[in-house]
């Protein structure tokens, strides 16, 4: 809750630069229309061209990793689900798999299929969100609105299955908490078909619309070697031709049973990313249809004791944005000893900084957000008081008083 001194300082710097040189320093963030979340990038410009980018993250750091060390295993599941608001399921899935790896239990096959269905629905929703936002950043509001309207379809399905649009709370250790509702197969298959049609139409738009092509083609170029060196993950690795997909390389859930297409492109520009994500969406929709029709019978969950055996385990999953990584160390108690979370955005941030260099400022939103950044899950934090083990909240009055103290110190003294 500290006050960031960075911003006023930069103001002075930028005013000075404007006076004495042709270089211009543009603060991009912490609050900026192109960013969904507060992060700060110092852009040093020559005219419209970017010379250097200096990142500053951590504005929404919540200390989740610290908090995890004081809470029981099951409660952490719900906390890590809230690492991210978009790929919430895959976080709980990855954490769950890391913990399951420490136990002796085997996940039931039906639960694996349900996990796959939800994870792929989440991917569809995340990719549609990104495609729409890309339209928004390129100044193509119509695409944005259409795509987000169609995104409701998959959100409605998720809500019907899990009971919530965003935080599904579907995962439990060794299984899932809710079964698929009765008689949903036809509806899911039909909706998926509709989504595939829409995705094909959007692909046609981005392939033919001149203004959109001009904004996205040959923007955000990256070479394969650089991507490999910077350890790019997910779509940012696949759009330069690297075959990096955890679903294929290290299958988890039911990915070894459900056939799917892996999409790899070689053009390495934002247009290729758009095509890649729309193709992946189609692949995901087909996977969901297949999984729903081939859903095996059986139990969905194994109940396990609240104490997890000692040991350490690292797992990775393919989130919509790329590989997410959990490392769990257990001392054999009711709480984990250490949980490490690595979200795809942190892995792809060096890539974004690399491809920003040499672009014009008009491309900043497009290029920076090409990695589909989710800064909220890159920084992790919560107010937690270890002594009483209760969340800490401010009452309205305290909050108001804090605001007054902060902005009007002279008034607070009275």
């Amino acid at each position: 809750m500290s006050v960031e001194p960075t911003q006023p300082k930069v103001r002075e710097e930028s005013a000075g630069l404007m006076k004495y040189s042709a270089e211009n320093l543009v603060p991009f963030g912490p609050i900026h229309p192109a960013l969904k979340e507060p992060e700060y990038f110092k852009l040093i410009l020559e005219g419209e061209r970017i010379v250097q980018v200096i990142p500053r993250i951590g504005y929404v750091h919540r200390g989740l990793e610290k908090a995890a060390e004081t809470r029981p295993w099951v409660q952490n599941m719900y906390m890590f689900e809230r690492t991210c608001g978009i790929c919430s399921f895959v976080h709980s899935l990855c954490y769950g798999q890391a913990v399951e790896g420490l136990t002796i239990y085997e996940v039931p096959r039906r639960a694996k299929f349900i996990r796959l269905i939800i994870a792929e629905m989440e991917r569809i929703h995340s990719h549609l969100l990104w495609v729409g936002l890309m339209g928004h950043w390129a100044g193509f509001e119509t695409l944005f609105m259409w795509v987000w309207r169609d995104r409701e379809i998959v959100l409605d399905l998720v809500e019907a299955i899990s009971g919530n649009r965003v935080h599904k709370s579907m995962n439990a250790f060794v299984g899932v908490r809710r079964d698929m509702p009765e008689g949903m197969e036809d509806r899911i298959v039909e909706r998926m078909k509709f989504l595939v049609d829409r995705a094909r139409y959007y692909k046609e738009i981005i392939d033919t619309e001149e203004t959109m092509l001009e904004r996205t083609e040959k923007v955000g170029k990256l070479s394969q070697e650089t991507a490999e060196k910077l350890c790019a993950v997910g779509p940012m690795a696949r759009y330069v031709g690297l075959q990096k997909d955890v679903r294929l390389n290290d299958p988890y859930a039911a990915y070894d049973e459900v056939p799917f297409d892996i999409i790899i492109r070689n053009e390495a520009d934002v247009h290729a990313l758009l095509q890649l994500r729309l193709d992946e969406l189609v692949a995901s929709a087909n996977m969901i249809s297949y999984a729903v029709q081939h859903l095996p019978e059986g139990p969905i969950r194994v109940k396990i004791p609240p104490i997890i055996p000692a040991g350490e385990h690292a797992t990775h999953c393919e989130a919509p944005r790329g590989e997410i990584f959990y490392y769990v160390k257990s001392g054999g108690g009711r709480t984990p000893e250490r949980v490490k979370v690595r979200t795809p955005t942190l892995a792809n941030l060096p890539v974004a900084l690399e491809i920003l260099k040499g672009q014009t400022i008009a491309d900043v939103p497009i290029v920076l957000t090409a990695i589909d950044p989710c800064f909220g899950c890159m920084d992790r934090m919560s107010f937690l008081d270890t002594e009483t083990n209760r969340q800490w909240t401010w009452s309205g009055e305290e909050l108001r008083q804090y605001g007054i103290n902060h902005y009007f110190p002279e008034r607070a003294k009275k």
């Binding site: 409660q75 599941m77 719900y78 809500e159």
Partner: protein
Amino acid sequence: MPRRKTGAAIPEMFRTLIEKPGTQVYPYEKVNLPQRFRGKLDIDPAKCTGCQVCAMVCPASVITMVDFGTRKVGDRVLPVKRPVFELATCIFCGECVDNCAFNALEMTKQFELATPHKEDLVMKKALAR
């Protein structure tokens, strides 16, 4: 490579113009909630035995157990506890509902919980005698 053209979206735009808009006019219109929707917690005080399982599993520390008199089992006098819910911190995961062995808890479809008074969100229903 498909043909490049300016205004590729225009035909679809006119189709959308005459279609019904996708917006749900939420506060003016009711929204359709699915069967499994997880809304505000509710408790059936008659079924609650005060076993404290819900308070233990809650990830958001919503539930605190408060003293609610005593009861006699044979010769011994045991304290009885009842849950108090601070719904302002509830994350609607439904873990307490799943773990309640007596089906005393349920999640209603009520989701409009905004209130100017924080006290409104403290549910003391189980304390009513």
